[in-house]
């Protein structure tokens, strides 16, 4: 009889431990991927001065874009921003970078420049890695949210005070397709 009582106590305890550890693991996975995104964004910011230096001589008419991106970068690496401000700034940088890359089409000499081509490949790679990291972040958030909301893990989650996290979403204005015509004419 005592064996039955022992099992009756041990089994729920083991289950709770498994659920608890599972929740911690998922929370940590979200944090880990967030850290990866951060590191990749920093890599991108580090490339910006190089980009500006390479294109400055060629792109005489794009002064405003280049200034904009240099200022945005300075703000981003200053480290004095809240999370939301960081995300907004990151969106601005993405958009401006996109505009610069489209404007490059007007400068065939620049397009053929070896330094620029190498830089373009590196930037493409980082952009793709950032996109991969964001997808991984959303997957990690989904797994975490599932555990926080579904039964029976939600019981333990609410005891731990875990709340659902939000997915990474592209800002509404970025979702508008880039108007290449407008950019090329400017």
């Amino acid at each position: 009889m005592w064996i039955a009582v022992g099992i009756g106590v041990a089994v729920p305890v083991v289950v709770v431990i498994i659920i608890y550890n599972g929740l911690i693991a998922r929370k940590n996975q979200v944090a880990k991927v967030f850290g990866t995104i951060d590191a990749l964004l920093k890599k991108r910011y580090d490339l910006i001065p190089q980009l500006v230096a390479t294109v400055k001589a060629y792109m005489q008419h794009e002064r405003s874009l280049l200034t904009e991106i240099t200022e945005a970068r300075a703000k981003a690496v200053s480290g004095r921003l809240s999370d939301d401000q960081q995300v907004e700034l990151d969106n601005i940088v993405s958009k401006t970078l996109g505009s610069i890359m489209v404007a490059v089409e007007n400068y065939p000499d620049l397009k053929a420049n070896q330094n620029f081509m190498h830089l373009q490949r590196t930037m493409n790679e980082i952009e793709e890695q950032i996109s991969a990291a964001r997808r991984a972040y959303n997957a990690a958030v989904e797994a975490f949210n599932n555990a926080v909301e579904m039964f029976p893990t939600n019981i333990v989650a609410s005891m731990m005070g875990y709340k659902t996290k939000s997915f990474f979403e592209i800002a509404a204005e970025q979702r508008e397709n880039v108007n290449a015509d407008k950019l090329l004419k400017s």
């Binding site: 996975q29 991927v33 990866t36 373009q120 490949r121 590196t122 493409n124 790679e125 793709e128 890695q129 996109s131 991969a132 990291a133 997808r135 991984a136 997957a139 990690a140 797994a143």
Partner: protein, 319 residues
């Protein structure tokens, strides 16, 4: 990319003279084989009758030479056809390979190394009977490739308990991937998810020998494949949304359960086949277009992986 029209032209102008030469050879081989078979069977039949007469005394003594005779007959047939197959491959298959792309080279007797096969980590069982043929290699555009037919089998036990497990039989392809990466990502055909849905996914994630299960966003891709990888972000860097769609399309093109893996900045693709590819027919004429078209299709499927997976797009840091 060569079209069917191109192939027809090639077949009629360039290939036909060689086909005629080989066809002569085929006919002569068929005649010789027919004679050997008739001779061997007649001798065996005669010997059998003789043995039947003197049943009591010499039974086993006469059976033995009959069996030896049959074996010799089979051996002679094999030797006759071997020369024919080698000539066929050198003339016909090699020409078709060069027709598809001049930068490709063909070695009929060679196959992908066993070490490369195991390096892909697609198949975890190490085969102890490993052979293959029809090795093609070269650089198409910016991509180095190698592929061959393989037949990898694992045999265990002996005598009556012998078990034969086919690890892989079909075309095994190795190509230079267009992105740098450091970990491993393995794409396997997905049976559990199809049958069991979410529970199937749970079972897959428990497969600890394979590394982390990577759940991707493309629902069609996910329904066909289960992905395991060493790093969640890197797996998604490799398997971009466009590559996932391309892999799904390629799988549908082959109509088979394909396996892929991404290791050491290379991509490995395994396409299983139940038949032997690139072997010449013995008892039917070679002058038809149909078998040539089949050889071309099979070769084109493998070489076409470069375009299907967009491996020549080199816009990232790897050139």
């Amino acid at each position: 990319m060569k079209t069917l029209e191109d192939l027809k032209n090639f077949y009629e102008t360039a290939l036909m003279p060689d086909l005629k030469v080989i066809e002569q050879q085929r006919r002569s081989v068929v005649h010789k084989v027919a004679w050997v078979v008739i001779a061997t069977v007649s001798i065996a039949a005669v010997a059998f009758f003789v043995a039947a007469q003197s049943l009591h005394e010499a039974g086993p003594v006469v059976i033995f030479p009959i069996i030896v005779g049959l074996l010799i007959g089979a051996g002679v047939c094999y030797l006759l056809t071997r020369g024919y197959v080698a000539d066929f491959k050198a003339l016909v298959i090699e020409r078709i390979v060069h027709f598809i792309d001049e930068n490709l080279s063909y070695e009929p007797k060679r196959c992908i190394d066993k070490s490369t096969f195991m390096l892909s980590k697609i198949f975890t069982t190490k085969p102890n009977r490993y052979k293959g043929d029809d090795f093609v290699s070269g650089k198409v555009g910016a991509t180095e490739i190698q592929f061959s037919e393989l037949n990898a089998v694992y045999e265990s036990g002996s005598g009556r308990n012998r078990h034969r497990y086919t690890v892989f039989r079909g075309i095994f392809f190795v190509g230079d991937f267009n992105k740098h990466f450091t970990g491993q990502t393995i794409v396997l055909p997905d049976t559990a998810e199809k049958l069991f849905g979410r529970l199937g996914q749970k079972l897959q994630s428990l497969n600890i020998f394979r590394g982390n299960l990577i759940k991707l966003e493309d629902p069609e891709f996910e329904s066909h494949f289960a992905v395991y990888g060493s790093d969640q972000v890197e797996a998604r860097y490799i398997l971009s949304t466009s590559l996932m769609a391309r892999i799904t399309d390629f799988k549908e093109k082959t109509g088979k359960k394909i396996y892929l893996s991404f290791i050491g900045s290379m991509v490995f693709v395994a396409v299983p086949y139940t038949r032997d590819l690139f072997e010449p027919r013995l008892f039917k004429t070679l002058l038809d277009f149909e078998p040539v078209r089949q050889y071309f299709d099979d070769l084109q499927l493998a070489v076409g992986i470069i375009d299907d997976l967009n491996l020549n797009t080199r816009i990232w840091s790897k050139e």
